[in-house]
Amino acid sequence: MSELTLEKYLVAGVEELGSWLRNGQTSPQELVELALTALKERAEPLNAVVNLAPERARVEAARATESLKSNRAGPLTGLPYGAKDLLATGGGLPTTWGAAPLREQQFDEDATVLRLLQNSGAVLTAKLAMVELAGGMGYNQPNASLTGPGKNPWNPERWSGGSSSGSAAAVGCGALPFALGSETWGSILSPASYCGVVGVRPTYGLVSRHGAMALSWSLDKIGPYARSVSDAAQVLQVIGQPDRADPTSSGREFFFRPHMFTNHRWRFGIVEAEVENAEGEVGQTVEAAIGHLEKIGTVKKISLAALPYAEVARIMIYAEASAAFEDFIEAGQVSGLTAPEDRVNPYSFETILAKDYIRALRVRHRIVTHLSEVLAEVDFLVAPTTATTAVPIDQPFNLSMGQRRMTQLSAASNLAGLPAVSLPVGFSRQGLPVGMQLVGDAFGDEGLLAAASRLEKLLNDTK
């Protein structure tokens, strides 16, 4: 009989659970049952789950057991995980895109990332909650999902962030060791910050989007959540693969070899305006973490040029969403969405003219060039992930966040397709997590995660 209890499972990460599996201290079947219990008891009360997948999980767990017996196991073999519900699943498991009108939507096959994870032996255990249509309709409140507002694992009266609400919350509450989310503008990193977990936004084109809901073809990315940087890197190593089915796939593979960076020293550029714009406690906590960066490199303050980052990002998302959801909008299906503003906002998107979109693309080119110039001088850009800690669940964002809704770096780096990681660096006095983001060069994902892992160790050593 295994000695693995629910309490031990809840705090174990990818590395630890994988080690127990390979040593025979637990089994994929036992982990699936623990995950299902944890999802029901901990994640469902946070509105983090759309559908559990017990039957599929038990079949995949049996397959993983065979792999373990025949020594064909990889780091994720036998580990339960969850996927944001915009990743298509075949086999009769619905894919709702977080939208009530699509509650029963079915696809014939899995998204590429889920197929890659299945091949690695990971066990899909739940489809996780998200803001309806990944927030593309312009929502202004936490209550914008068919599963209700995502509640924060650290305080259920606070929001879990969006749009990958359930993925971050399920990892944050311990129900799953890792999960997949997606980001168009802030949707992986912001929930990671609010829920106190690690979130990785890979370089645009590193991870296949085949089978994922399209919100903005030129901005959408898929990435992992986990409890540590190295755990997230293990997941990215599986999903960061070329895919002929995705025309934007870069053809590159992701490898994580942290030993290659053991004594490396990096140049960190602190985006000063972002630290100053953050809420007091957020800024102070991030400044304390920046102090640790001096142990692994040089630190200097930098400024981003005055460019309309947020405006370009918003216009691009509205215009592309208007095309991606044209049928849904024109058929009036938006009237079934949860947030009242999402039921009418999208009609206005089609007023964006082609020449406006092209102008935004020209300014985007300017933004990409500017970030390339900045990243020629430093290796990483550093800032608070979000300007506030998790906001109240019952207030519209224009009240709870005001002008602090999104950071400039978030808009700029998403427009440039750059990789980023958010890691927890402390807590507010109210016990809410504070996240810090590091943004790296295009396809510099490995060095970025190696640096974040070094920082994480320094932070853990001082606890």
Partner: protein, 72 residues
């Protein structure tokens, strides 16, 4: 969101086009929300138009990130 009379007037033609196309989907209670979004889009486009572009600022029609050449 506070909307000036000038902004309200500027988006009126677009509002009428949307109402003609979508009819009762944009009822009186939804109209205020649509106007706010139209003004929001208008203001964002104005901010984008303030960037002085040159012939070198070609649109990024096929977006593929590239690593930068480093200044070590």
């Amino acid at each position: 969101m506070e909307i000036s009379e000038e902004d309200r007037a500027a988006v009126e033609p677009q509002l009428q086009i949307l109402k003609a196309k979508y009819g009762d989907k944009i009822g009186p209670e939804a109209e205020k929300e649509v106007i706010e979004r139209l003004v929001d889009i208008k203001q964002r486009l104005e901010a984008i138009r303030k960037v002085a572009l040159t012939a070198d600022d070609e649109p990024l029609l096929h977006f593929a990130p590239r690593p930068v050449r480093r200044n070590e």
